[in-house]
Symmetry: C2
């Protein structure tokens, strides 16, 4: 028999979340539509509206380093990753609460800039910080944001609705943030101009809030998730929740410009960057096969953001595969960025 | 001209919160009834119900030490302090989100116990943990809880409703948690049995959720706050928000048994413990002078918790005073526990 793990560093993020499910009582609350397991919880507000709730804790040294970014960007980013969770349900962000852990020597100027960043990220969505809490920490900045949103009860998209035969779509490009990160590693502050777009995607994710709402309102999607851990990992979460498998086609993956050059520099393959590097914060959604092409095309609207079909949902028994250009199938490794496991492990 | 502060350690918790208000845009959202400044934000859900939102971040080494308490108690406490915030608005707790920062070597067993503590604290209120987030920290456990609640829109109690002439009441006893803390300091693990109740009040606060709802439903109160920082500090918050002053009578303060002995041992005065030691998590509320005594008496019901009149609200110009047994008035120092300022400062 395997020895039970002794400390949380030996366990990954998702097994740790599963443990919570076993400890918590089964809720018979009929208003609780989605709880632990999706990134965003969903509660019925009334006959028409659903309340969405998500939170994300960002830790200095783990999620950001203040010598590589600015307090303003940390603030924007902390809000952006939560906005992406609300976007993934097709919701409209409404209110945020912010808990901060600050070392005593944290500059007041940086404190102000942090809140300016959060404010600026929320403003276009007419969402507001309405509460929070401060505490002193020994040495790290900690930013924990809880974000609320609202959606039509009949239009909330979760991870659980995909069925065999559904087509799989993604917004934007895959691997842009990962390539940006590698560009920063390779060039430091002297990143050539042509890679600036990639770096920008890494430094400041752009949550697809409007597009997420369009997808939900269009009524064409059966399930949705945002890509925080890499498409291979996140699509796997969606499949697990939906009880299905999936096949995605290598040749269909929408790649950002210059990703090949960065891959060459970094010693990683383009495929690895596109599938496994996290933090793209694009949306992946599934659409039943009968939906007319025009309806899907219209989602994009005038957003300027590409929406690309990358594969299809299959029965669980058919597995979770990558299809290469010659039609060969290989099992797709669901590994992505684990926000918890030891990085040196 | 005074030099502006350079780092957050030179600024207190409340001035830091005021800075946020200056940075954030003024919201014209009519549904936002109470925002930053109260412990709990209030949002209109519909014509009848209000949504309450609060959060509280607890940091190892700052709010608790794992060599002096247990992970189970840390979990209960993290939830209890949030329950107290919901109680202070007269609300019913509903859903919680939990963000955890954990060092890699944190035992899995302790992780489980932490969630068991949170669960057990929520269960009597039929409130549930519905989401959360995990991140790795370098060396400290961090527990950030966001708690939601619900209240009748017409019955929400805030800090802002007190008027000159209102009577001031508190639930339970004042200084019990502070005396418990001093007993632990003085006796360590060998605390005499007669002080166990005080220690219990320090180790595990009992949020006054049911009593808070009774007070709100009774319709007699004009304002309410929970006592987290000590009555001198918290009543001052209420007065500031309400634009009033207050007089409280030394002889009326409800003191717990044995507080005199502990005061003697610890070198603090009974008055200091009762007024300035935080974390009692009792409720303080104000009642307009015309309300009949029977209506106030009935609040207590069969709860077994005393409800004691300690003074009255006066006009702001009349100040913020303590009245001694001979009727002499001295200004009441609003200082309480600052969850942020340097402890060695």
């Amino acid at each position: 028999m395997a020895k039970p793990p002794k400390c949380v560093g030996e366990v990954g993020e998702f097994p740790l979340i599963d443990r919570i499910r076993n400890i918590l009582p089964f809720s018979r609350n009929k208003d609780l539509l989605v709880d632990i397991g999706d990134d965003t919880a969903v509660v019925r507000m009334d006959g028409r509206r659903a309340l969405l709730l998500t939170c994300d804790i960002q830790v200095e040294g783990r999620h950001f380093r203040l010598d590589r970014t600015t307090p303003y960007r940390v603030g924007r980013r902390a809000m952006a990753v939560n906005l992406s969770d609300i976007a993934s349900m097709g919701g409209k962000p409404t209110y945020a609460l912010v808990s901060l852990g600050l070392p005593a020597d944290f500059p007041v100027k940086s404190y102000d800039r942090l809140f300016e960043g959060m404010r600026d990220e929320l403003l276009p969505h007419r969402a507001y910080i309405i509460g929070g809490n401060l505490a002193q920490t020994r040495d790290s900045l900690i930013v924990d944001v809880t974000l609320l949103g609202e959606a039509d009860l009949s239009r909330v998209l979760t991870r659980g609705g995909a069925r065999a035969g559904d087509r799989i779509f993604v917004t934007g490009h895959l691997g842009a943030s990962g390539a940006g990160f590698q560009a920063l590693r390779a060039f430091g502050k002297k990143v050539p101009g042509k890679y600036k777009d990639l770096v920008a995607r890494h430094v400041l994710p752009v949550p697809r809030v409007d597009l997420g709402r369009r997808i939900a309102r269009s009524g064409v999607a059966s399930a949705m998730i945002d890509l925080s851990d890499g498409v291979a990992g996140d699509l796997h979460h969606l499949c697990t929740r939906s009880g299905v498998g999936a096949e995605i086609h290598e040749s269909l993956l929408p790649l950002p410009k210059h990703i090949g050059e960065i891959a060459g520099k970094s010693g990683k393959s383009v495929l690895d960057l596109a599938l496994h590097s996290g933090e793209d914060y694009e949306l992946l959604f599934t659409v039943p096969s009968g939906v007319p092409a025009g309806k899907i095309r219209s989602i994009r609207g005038d957003s300027g953001i590409p929406v690309t079909e990358i594969g299809k949902i299959v029965r669980r028994e058919e597995g979770y595969c990558l299809v290469d250009s010659r039609g060969g199938k290989t099992p797709l490794r669901p590994a992505g960025w684990d926000h918890f496991r030891r990085t040196d492990g």
